[in-house]
């Protein structure tokens, strides 16, 4: 029986994880590793399998096949041991409405095996980190605002100082100040705890996470740092240009510059300037100087801005999910093609 894995330096090891609901495959051979102290963002469209993965990791749900190790302990065979290493904050952060914050956190500390002598210290520490100490510690949870409730959820997840923290949509419904506070809090955990965050707010993930995993249709379709994903998934450089030149004339100028430059978007602003987004098949990111030199030569254009447009995580996400959809469609097409070939050959035999 494989209960303890030898790959201890990784906090989370997931091997060939599959989960089926009847005929539907929610997860299909998902494998990944998360190092100690690493912050990983988990992205995917609705129904991609993010929450299923997180629920399996936290031991709430059994997998159909595959294995999950948390700090070397198998979640399937030793769920109680594995849960000791996990702090989980589920989606919507359910909390008991009628308890006070400090009361609830003390209960959670006790149930998570925090030594009795340390409970008060740990609860105060978690409330201090989550800025609950002064305003909310003695309030009833049911009376708290959404932001404070999220903080209670985060305080609960870090309370027992687990090696792995799993957060499903931790910043959902928060105002910008609260998002910044939670981002700083998660950043402060870097190097100390492994954190897995699922979110739909892509810029947040980019700011908080060391690595991003994109899941679609139950499979990991992209994994890496945002820089490496840009290289893998973005095949075009984009530049933003602002000047006084109509699209008809500007198109000709751009064509003369070569480098496969094309106008992707154009819009006229109220002050008479035109704002363009140019794209090129090159991904060197060094056409800025050329554009500035060529476009500033004619003073009529009154060139105002040339900027390299860094591809956002949103674009990477769209590209990765689109690619996986295309792959799925291709597979279905290949399968149906081969099926019809078989059918036609059978028909011929008849």
């Amino acid at each position: 029986m494989e209960e303890i894995s030898q790959d201890v330096p990784n906090s989370v090891i997931v091997r060939r994880l599959t989960k089926t609901y009847g005929a539907v495959k929610a997860l299909n051979n998902v494998s990944f590793r998360i190092g100690k102290g690493e912050i990983v963002g988990f992205l995917g469209p609705n129904g991609a399998g993010k929450s299923t993965t997180m629920r399996i990791l936290s031991g709430l749900m059994p997998a159909s096949s595959g294995s999950v190790y948390i700090c070397g302990v198998s979640v399937a065979t030793r769920p109680d041991m594995a849960r000791k290493h996990i702090g989980f904050m589920p989606e919507n952060n359910p909390l008991p409405e009628d308890l006070r914050v400090s009361e609830y956190l003390k209960f959670r500390a006790r149930i998570k095996d925090v030594p009795s002598s340390e409970i008060d210290k740990r609860v105060n520490e978690a409330m201090e980190i989550c800025q609950l100490q002064h305003k909310a510690s003695s309030k009833i949870i049911g009376n708290l605002s959404k932001g404070f409730r999220q903080r209670v959820g985060i305080a609960d997840s870090i309370l027992a100082r687990p090696e792995v923290i799993i957060m499903d949509e931790p910043t959902i419904g928060l105002d910008p100040h609260q998002i910044i506070a939670i981002r700083e809090l998660i950043n402060s955990l870097r190097g100390k705890m492994s954190v897995i965050i699922s979110s739909h707010i892509l810029p947040e993930i980019e700011l908080m996470c060391d690595r991003v995993m994109i899941i679609n249709q139950g499979s990991i379709v992209a994994s890496g740092t945002s820089e490496s994903l840009r290289k893998d998934f973005i095949s075009k450089d984009k530049y933003e240009v602002s000047l006084r030149c109509a699209p008809e004339e500007f198109g000709g100028i751009i064509a003369n510059l070569g480098n496969d430059l094309q106008i992707e978007k154009s819009a006229q602003s109220q002050d008479g300037y035109y704002n363009y987004v140019l794209s090129t098949s090159q991904t060197r990111g060094d056409l800025g100087a050329l554009l500035v030199r060529e476009l500033s030569m004619d003073t009529r254009f009154a060139l105002r801005e040339v900027a390299y447009k860094k591809p956002s995580l949103e674009e990477i996400f769209m590209s990765a999910t689109r690619r996986s959809w295309e792959q799925i469609s291709k597979n279905i097409y290949t399968k149906s093609g081969s099926t019809s070939e078989i059918e036609s050959s059978n028909g011929g035999a008849k």
Binding site: L60, R83, P90, I111, D113
Partner: protein, 255 residues
């Protein structure tokens, strides 16, 4: 064991701060007080061999049908609806520990409320100084065996309530389910035994089974200080079976 005690204390605390517990307690005690007064009034009107305590306990099932669903309906259904059960299950606790803690917390309140009804004969004794022994208000053996039955059968009724609560996310549905199951458990055997069936093997088997399950017969035996091990076995074993099924249901529905 340590985690179970923590969970049990937490459940007790949650029940203590929940208004529905106090509503259940108030309704129960008010209803029982009325029943006891009626038993005393009956005794004052006509002489009877049946003691007021026996009369009072013979109607135990009426408040049980309302109190047990009120005490238990929130226990698992509400937690599942809110999602707090899932959060709890991400800690190193097992479904069995959670279910047992909830059961014992509800059972504690059930026993506590019935113990409060012991004040009724005591109060009656305080105000009716004459002829108390003759009236049989405080016959200790009868009192112990009668309440013994209430406590032992109560374990099964509370387990039924907890089981009903694990079957659904809606508190109201859990309450209604619990009411129906309790009604059948208490009255079902008596109703079946009243059916007129042809005199064959099946009728004999049914008669033996209903005799074994007949709640009011058990109560009668206990009230007459006739202690039989079979009702003990029936109620305790059914309680454990129901709790085991509840923990399996809780685990399965949580995943």
């Amino acid at each position: 064991m340590k985690r179970f005690v923590i969970l049990w204390r937490h459940q007790l605390w949650q029940m203590m701060i929940s208004p529905s517990t106090y509503i259940a307690a108030f309704l129960f005690l008010a209803f029982m007080a009325v029943l006891y007064i009626l038993a005393l009034v009956d005794l004052s009107v006509s002489a009877s061999d049946v003691s007021p305590l026996s009369r009072f306990l013979s109607l135990f099932w009426v408040p049980v049908l309302f109190m047990v669903p009120l005490l238990t309906m929130r226990s698992i259904a509400e937690e599942r609806r809110m999602g707090t059960l899932a959060t709890l299950m991400t800690t190193p606790v097992t479904a069995w520990q959670v279910v047992l803690a909830k059961f014992l917390a509800c059972y504690f309140f059930y026993v506590l409320l019935w113990c409060m009804t012991l004040f009724f004969p005591l109060i009656a004794k305080m105000y009716m100084q004459n002829g108390i022994d003759q009236a049989g208000l405080l016959q200790i053996p009868q009192l112990l065996s009668g309440y013994g039955f209430i406590f032992i059968s109560g374990a099964m009724y509370v387990a039924i309530g907890i089981f009903a609560s694990s079957m659904t996310r809606t508190t109201l549905v859990a309450g209604m389910l619990s009411f129906c199951m309790l009604f059948f458990a208490i009255v079902g055997a008596g109703m079946i035994s009243k059916l007129t069936l042809p005199d064959d093997g099946f009728a004999m088997l049914l008669s033996t089974s209903t005799d074994y399950l007949h709640t009011f017969r058990h109560l009668e035996d206990f009230s007459n200080c006739l202690l039989d091990t079979r009702p003990f076995f029936l109620y305790i074993s059914t309680t454990f079976v129901l709790l085991a099924i509840t923990s399996l249901v809780t685990e399965a529905k949580n995943s």
